[in-house]
Amino acid sequence: MEGWDPNTKSTLTQIPLLTTKAGPRDGAAWTLRLKEEYKALIAYTQMNKSNDNDWFRISAANPEGTRWTGKCWYVYNLLKYEFDLQFDIPITYPSTAPELELPQLDGKTQKMYRGGKICLTVHFKPLWAKNCPRFGIAHALCLGLAPWLAAEVPILVDSGMIKHKDDATTSTES
């Protein structure tokens, strides 16, 4: 795991791995996979909470579990910045990872594709490909979104591209 910080590495190894290689078009096998996804997400969220590093909420937005919505946040200079989070499970999942979207940041940073899809590091896709089908949604959040927020939120805040919601209210009131 070259190119990852030790923190991400040690967290990742504690998220349960998945075994079923199935995507949304695979019927009963997808249900099996979905159960594994839930187990991994539950374990990861619990782990974050007990480590005092709770940083996202995610739940399925449809009964098929192909669309997910939620929130993620990052604390910078003691202020919490929160964003909507959404993604679809691609039909070629888990061969390809879900493309994580932060629609509120669309157009605010170079490290994003159109539509608010975050730009992953050169290390993400190779690691995902190597670990197919063991990595799931929880792993994508840990390896993709967490490092992205840590790198980009400070830049966005310092450059004035995003404002803390308390600042924003103050400025509209004044």
């Binding site: 187990k39 679809d88 990872a97 896709k125």
Partner: protein
């Protein structure tokens, strides 16, 4: 407007005749010539050409197909007009797909199916095809607007959707299966699919659809640093599919360590995209009209003007189930294929044997393809110079044990969903 200008001219005429003072005639003449100029401009304003029933080879100004039909007269193409029977699906109407669509439209292709979920933005204006006034239109609708003006003979279908999502993929599949354009043809409803998307996820979705439909397709791509690209022919069962081995990339020769990737996602150049679109459509024409050879894989390194080629056999352990099915069918059809090839060879048997050029007056030596580094069938690990793999293969799954798998095994999906919600709201 033309009518009004005409009336204005006749008003000027009568004014000139009724004016007693000839000294004013000069300025009236000036006004008259300006109005005439405007009338000419008005006449030149957008004229839409009407549809053409049959492609003619007649060389006249008004024939949009004469130079294409000349390919037939020169013996390059046997029957050019067949192009009107073909349907081509273009997935991704970006820097490569839009240019490919324009080329095929100008060539008089029968029908184009266009797929993209994105809108035209001013940030796309460093590329060819789209115009600034089309900003905020969907790429597919903007493309239909321009293409139907260029050639009204082409049947255009616009699909604004994301093929990687479940709903988008279903629509994609059913549109490819629709055979109403040419019901007598074998196979799916299209003759070729061109993948002009810019990401691995969408390529894998095209691969999935084409494997399931046994549909031949051409893949294209431009690297994120905009200095290299490739095209690849994929025939399900016969050649490697996109999932058979990790995708190939053309090495740019730039030291990866010096590339400042961290700053931005992707760069783009109209030149690289134009070259790749040209290579893609050239091979599309060769494939459809049956002339020349279609490249199995052709890379383009723009920094060195180097074009590596190679051929890839399907992987019997491919992770894609539909690919394995197609491989099996291809194996089963081998005896029939061999018999057909033999019959063809016998029919075309040369009347005389011996070297083609006895008197080699130019002293040309014909070098074996292999020595030139030409197309060769290689195993998936051995790559020709200038090509590398973009991603690693998946690890042997069984070699790794899953650490920390939860012991408490709940097997009801609803229970799990509720449990996650409980933690989320805690």
């Amino acid at each position: 407007m033309e009518v009004e200008l005409k009336e204005m001219l006749s008003d000027l005429q009568s004014l000139k005749q009724s004016l007693p003072d000839p000294s004013l005639h000069d300025s009236l003449d000036k006004i008259q010539s300006r109005v005439e100029h405007l009338a000419d401009l008005a006449k030149a304003a957008p004229v839409r050409r009407s549809k053409v029933k049959d492609m003619s080879a007649e060389v006249v100004d008004s024939n949009p197909y004469s130079r294409l039909m000349a390919l037939q007269r020169m013996g390059i193409v046997e029957n050019y007009e067949r192009i009107r029977e073909f349907s081509v699906a273009i997935v991704g109407i970006g820097g490569v797909g839009s240019v490919a669509a324009e080329m095929l439209t100008r060539c008089g292709i029968g029908r184009l199916l266009l797929y993209d979920y994105d809108k035209v933005e001013l940030a796309n204006m460093n590329r060819l095809f789209f115009r600034p006034d089309q900003a905020s239109m969907t790429k597919t609708d903007a493309a239909v607007q321009t293409l139907s003006d260029i050639n009204p003979d082409v049947v255009l279908e616009s699909y604004t959707l994301n093929i990687t999502t479940v709903e988008g993929f279903d629509t994609f599949m059913s549109s490819l299966k629709d055979k109403s354009f040419c019901p007598v043809k074998q196979g799916s409803g299209v003759d070729l699919v061109l993948s002009c998307v810019d990401n691995y996820e969408a390529r894998m979705a095209v691969n999935q659809a084409c494997n399931e439909l046994s549909q031949t397709w051409l893949e294209s791509g431009v690297s994120e640093d905009a200095v290299s690209g490739h095209i690849q022919l994929l025939i399900p069962g016969e050649t490697a599919c996109f999932a058979c081995a990790p995708p190939l990339v053309v090495a740019s020769g730039v030291d990866e360590r010096t590339l400042k990737r961290e700053g931005v996602c992707a760069a783009s150049l109209p030149t690289t995209m134009g070259v790749v679109a040209g290579l893609l459509v050239q091979n599309t024409l060769k494939f459809l009209l049956g002339f020349g050879q279609v490249s199995p894989y052709l890379g383009y390194n723009s920094l060195k003007d180097f074009f590596p080629t190679m051929q890839m056999k399907p992987n019997p352990q491919c992770s894609n189930g539909a690919c394995l099915k197609r491989q099996e069918e291809y194996m089963l059809a081998k005896p029939a294929r061999d018999a057909a090839a033999k019959a063809k060879m016998e029919a075309e048997a040369p009347s005389e044997e011996g070297p083609l050029h006895d008197d080699n007056e130019w002293n040309i030596s014909v070098v074996d393809d292999c020595e030139l580094g030409g197309p060769e069938t290689k195993s998936s690990d051995a790559l020709p110079e200038g090509l590398t793999r973009e991603l690693p293969s998946a690890d042997e799954f069984n070699n790794l044990s899953a650490p920390g798998a939860p012991v408490t095994d709940i097997d009801d999906l609803e229970d799990l969903r509720r449990q996650l919600e409980a933690i989320n709201s805690a």
